[in-house]
Each structure stands twice: as structure tokens, then as C-alpha cells.
């Protein structure tokens, strides 16, 4: 009898584990590397610089408007690679399943991963499945690690922001995090909230291809835009000033933030990037970003300063200044 739920046996390494791999994972993630069924995948690379990254995904709920944990697990890691200017190529996937997880949920998640991987142009080449007894986990946790190739001449990183640079963001802020929190709180709004989860590697490739100099790229996930900008300010030893009037935030995200008492600047995004570029390149980069479906609402939101190094300042609508610190003391677990 075939079970419609995940059993401890699915993680035994024995017959039932092999069936799961052969029936579910291989057909969905079809590629010659995975097909080999060795302990590691063997990939051939040209010499040069590779980007290597990892993230675990523990989002709750697993399925939400705009995406699910599978899409998140692929896009999040693809985006981390893209943020160094790398072209993502290979992913590993490791599942920690809780005994009793409906098999159809796993199938839906795997299908979503395959779709996101195809869009991002990456291959899932190696993997692992563990099953923990009921109560020792929570439905499903997914880890992905990724490898990408950094093209020659690219030098993008958190230490590269320079005084006089311009701060761009690829679209609206707070959509992912507020969607998850509203789902958990059972809140409904007139205009529905939707996660922005998306692979940004295509957008980044287009930004690089336009020839503009790009100093920093980073995706403002956990901790939101405010935390990301603080990281950059510290790493580069510069100040950053952003302008409240320029920040793109959807009305329904603002409404949800107010209801939940949260600031969208500290809320996770999963399909957005911050770009720091020389002032004279800003228009060119914005034009390119706006042509991509994930950059349509790109905006110039601030500038890098020599003042207040290591700090981020928000110029408010009413003309005041507010220090934007890193996320501190808030507890928004399992947002990604």
C-alpha cells in the first residue's frame, strides 16, 4: 500500500527513500547530474570566480498568495547569488520533512520549485531528504545551497558603496512579509496582499549588460530595507540617507502594516533588490530595471553620504530626520 503521507521510512535511506527520489524528485528536477544518483553531483566549470551561498526556509504557512515555500527556497538562493553579480547555475536541495506531511503538499512544493528553477535557469543537481518524527519538526523545512559564476570584471559587494552614490530599489516594499503575517493573523484587506517572491537573476543580468557601474546589490529580505541599508552602511563605512516620499509601498501593505503595528521598512521582501550606483549611472540603470517585469516600479530612494558613517537616516514626509536602526527586538519568526 502506498501511503499518502510522509512516513519515517521516507528518510531511512532504504527502499522507500529511493522510491521517493525516483518517483517524485527525479521526474520533476530532471537533469543529467541528478540522474547519476551519486553522493555528489559533478559539475564542470570554467576557471574563475564562483559565488556560493546557502539558506534554509522555514516559512509558515507553507502556501500563501503569490507563492509557497518551494518558490521561496529557489528564488531566495538564486537572488543571493545574483546579488554578487553572479549568474546562478546549480542548486542543491535538502528537505527536512515531518512525519505525516501530506504527500500532495510535498508534490505541490516540488512542482513549484521546478517551475521557479526553470524560470531562473538553474538546475537542481543534488539533494537530501530527512524525516523527523511528528512533533520534532513542522511540516517541511527546505535548505538550498547555490553556485553561480561571477563574470570577469564584476566587483559588487557590501563594501563598495561610496559617498555620492545613489540608492535604487527595484519595486514596492513589504509585500512578502505583510502577506505572510496577514495570513497568519487571518486578516483580510479590500485589495488582497500578495508575496513578491521572484527570481531576480534575469533583472540583474540586464542591469549588468547595460554597462553601468554597480557598486552594491542586495535583496532586503529578513530585517527589510532598513536592516539591509544598515549592513551596507557599516560594511562600506558610509552614511545612507533615504527619502520617505520616494519609497514605493502599496496601499494595502500600508494598511496591513498599520493594523499590525509594523513598519514596512523592516519587513522582508523576497523579490526586490537594492542597488547602489554612481549618481551619473542612476537614470540608465532605472530605465533598464523598469523594462523588466520585476523592476517595473523601480525607484530612486536616497543617496550615500560621507556624513554619519555606519548610519541610515530617513528624511520624513514632514521634513524631519529619523535614524533608521537595524531591526532590533522585533519577533517575526518564520517569515521565510
Amino acid at each position: 500500500m502506498v501511503s499518502d503521507k510522509i512516513l519515517l521510512d521516507h528518510g531511512s535511506g532504504g527502499r522507500v527513500s529511493h522510491e521517493l527520489v525516483e518517483r517524485l524528485f527525479l521526474p520533476r528536477f530532471q537533469n543529467p547530474w541528478l540522474q547519476d544518483l551519486n553522493d555528489s553531483a559533478v559539475i564542470t566549470v570554467e576557471g574563475g570566480r564562483l559565488a556560493f551561498t546557502t539558506d534554509s526556509y522555514v516559512v509558515d504557512p507553507l502556501f500563501f498568495p503569490g507563492g509557497d515555500i518551494g518558490a521561496l527556497a529557489v528564488c531566495g538562493t538564486v537572488n543571493d547569488l545574483a546579488m554578487l553579480g553572479a549568474r546562478p547555475f546549480y542548486l542543491s536541495v535538502a528537505f527536512i520533512l515531518e512525519e505525516g506531511l501530506p504527500l500532495k503538499d510535498l508534490e505541490r512544493i516540488v512542482a513549484s520549485m521546478a517551475k521557479a528553477a526553470a524560470e531562473a535557469g538553474v538546475h537542481i543537481v543534488t539533494g537530501d531528504t530527512k524525516v523527523v518524527p511528528q512533533g520534532a519538526g513542522d511540516k517541511i523545512f527546505i535548505n538550498t545551497a547555490g553556485i553561480g559564476v561571477v563574470p570577469e570584471g564584476i566587483r559588487i559587494g557590501g563594501r563598495e558603496a561610496k559617498s555620492g552614490d545613489t540608492v535604487l530599489v527595484s519595486g514596492t516594499l513589504g509585500d512578502h512579509g505583510l502577506t505572510i503575517l496577514s495570513q497568519r493573523e487571518g486578516l483580510a484587506f479590500e485589495s488582497p496582499l500578495k508575496s513578491d517572491v521572484a527570481p531576480l537573476s534575469g533583472l540583474v543580468q540586464e542591469m549588468l549588460a547595460c554597462g553601468a557601474e554597480i557598486h552594491v546589490l542586495r535583496d532586503p529580505t529578513r530585517g527589510g530595507l532598513a536592516t539591509t541599508l544598515n549592513e551596507i552602511a557599516r560594511q562600506s563605512g558610509v552614511g545612507i540617507e533615504i527619502w520617505e516620499e520616494a519609497l514605493p509601498v502599496r496601499d494595502q501593505v500600508l494598511a496591513a502594516s498599520e493594523t499590525l503595528g509594523l513598519d514596512p521598512l523592516y519587513i522582508a521582501n523576497e523579490g526586490k533588490l537594492v542597488a547602489i550606483v554612481p549618481k551619473e549611472e542612476a537614470e540608465k540603470v532605472l530605465t533598464v530595471m523598469r523594462k523588466n517585469k520585476y523592476g517595473r516600479e523601480a525607484a530612486l530612494i536616497g543617496e550615500v553620504t560621507a556624513d554619519h558613517p555606519g548610519q541610515v537616516v530617513l528624511k520624513t514626509l514632514i521634513g524631519g530626520s529619523r535614524l533608521l536602526d537595524m531591526l532590533s527586538g522585533e519577533q517575526l519568526p518564520r517569515i521565510c
Copy 2:
């Protein structure tokens, strides 16, 4: 006030997360890649073949005679790379922590990972930390992904076993799994059991350096030797025969197996490898293995046959034959 337990905040991506990285992870895993604090690590490679692998570790208990989850997480992934003949270089590490985990447990695990990484000659270059609320996880789960370089001319894999080859094992069987299970059951034996967890990359490098032809290397982890040999028999389309009298098993492992009603051939090992080599190379390879501290008890345990392709047969002490199938229907969760 500094907490002595993991809080949800440690996974927020904000200030407290950064403190954990800066105070605990960076000093222990010290290397220039991690120090950069970017979304990905950038590593420089020569052109050629890379091995890429991933595994999550969910072992319970976290600490056991001979090792802990940290040593396991480094050695397991290092060994998966080594099993393709690759020299392991870089690891990613991703923690899923349960709220309330004592910080001193995490510190002990991280120290153990750093020690195992140093022994294996690998660098932990990128990482991630998530925290789930109490009850949504179980203390700590660790994922590691690894990258290694496959030297030119090496062609090792599960499909390469040939009729007439010899089957070698690097040491005693069942030590890790029986140690974990005995700990969980609270069993004590006259001679204490001890996990065999160890990085095998050095042993493999020495085996390759002796110039012998090696067809298959694999570490018999979950599912044990029997399952591993079944995988190889299927992938290569050959039969495998092993001899009970030749199998190295410690007396205390045999005793524990009998008490628990388990067969050591199906029990996980974490510091052993199976090597399949041409008959004429067997003595040379065994001699090299026995000089390494992780191969001292290496033994020739069987042969590859053209008969019964896809199947593994055990020749018993009393002269009979028994089909050794893959692990099936047994439930030994959280053994690694």
C-alpha cells in the same frame, strides 16, 4: 542583558542575528570568505570538474560518545565529496535552531564543526541561521553543502563496478548507528560503544595517490552496508557477493545489535567507506588504507559478479546464501 538561550530574535536578520554571527560564528570559522559578510561567498577555482553535495543532519541526541551533530555535519558532507574522488574545499552551513536552545550547546557544536573542518582541510565560507518557535523544531538541525575539486583522470562512481572486482571496507561496521540507538534506549554495555564519525578525505587522497584503479567509493551511512551495496549493484548492473566471515564488526556492536534486534549490515556508519577495485589492485589499496588511522581495520569482504545483477548475496558462516535486500520497513529515525 545577554541571553544564555537562543531567542526568536537570533533568527530575525536584525541586530541580534548579527551579534550571533560576529561573536560566535566568525571567530570559530575564521576565514576571509566568511569575513566579507556578503550574501554569497566568492571562491576562485581552476577550470575543471567540481563535486557538489548537500546533507541535513537531525541526529538525536546531539552529543554522543565519539562525536556530536557538528562533527557529523562536517564529516558527512566532506565524505560525500570524497566518495567521488574529489578533494573537499568549501562548505556552507545552515542552522535551524529551536527557540530555547542553550547557547552553550550551540557553542560546543560550532567548536566541534571548526575542529572537524580543520582536520578535513575545508573552509566554512557561507552560512545561514533560522530560529523556529519552541515546539516547531527540535533543538538544532544543521545543513551543510560542500564543494570539492575532482582531479583530472578520476572516474569514480556508482556505475563503475565491474564483474571480477573486489569489495573492500575501511573498517568495522555499525558503530555509529548502534551508538546512537544505545544512547536513546539508555543501554550500557561492558565495552562502551563509540561513533566512528570521521572525515575520510585524507584516506581517499592516499588511496588515489597510490596509483591504483578505483571504480567505486561510497560511504555506507543510512541504510548501512547492505543498502549501499544494493545501490551500487543496481547502478552498475552487477551482482555483489559478500562473505559473512570477512565482515569486521566489533563485539560490543554485535552485542548491542542482538539486544536491539538489529542487523549491523543495515546500520549507519559515519567514518567508513566501501571501495570497489579490480582484484589485482586489492592488496595494494588495502595496504595503503591500513596505514591511515581511519583504515586500520580495512578488510576485503567480497566480490562483484556477473551473476544475479542488481542483487547482493551474503555467504553465511555456515555455508549458506542469503539475499541482502535494501533496508525496507525499518524505522531508525534521526540516526544522522
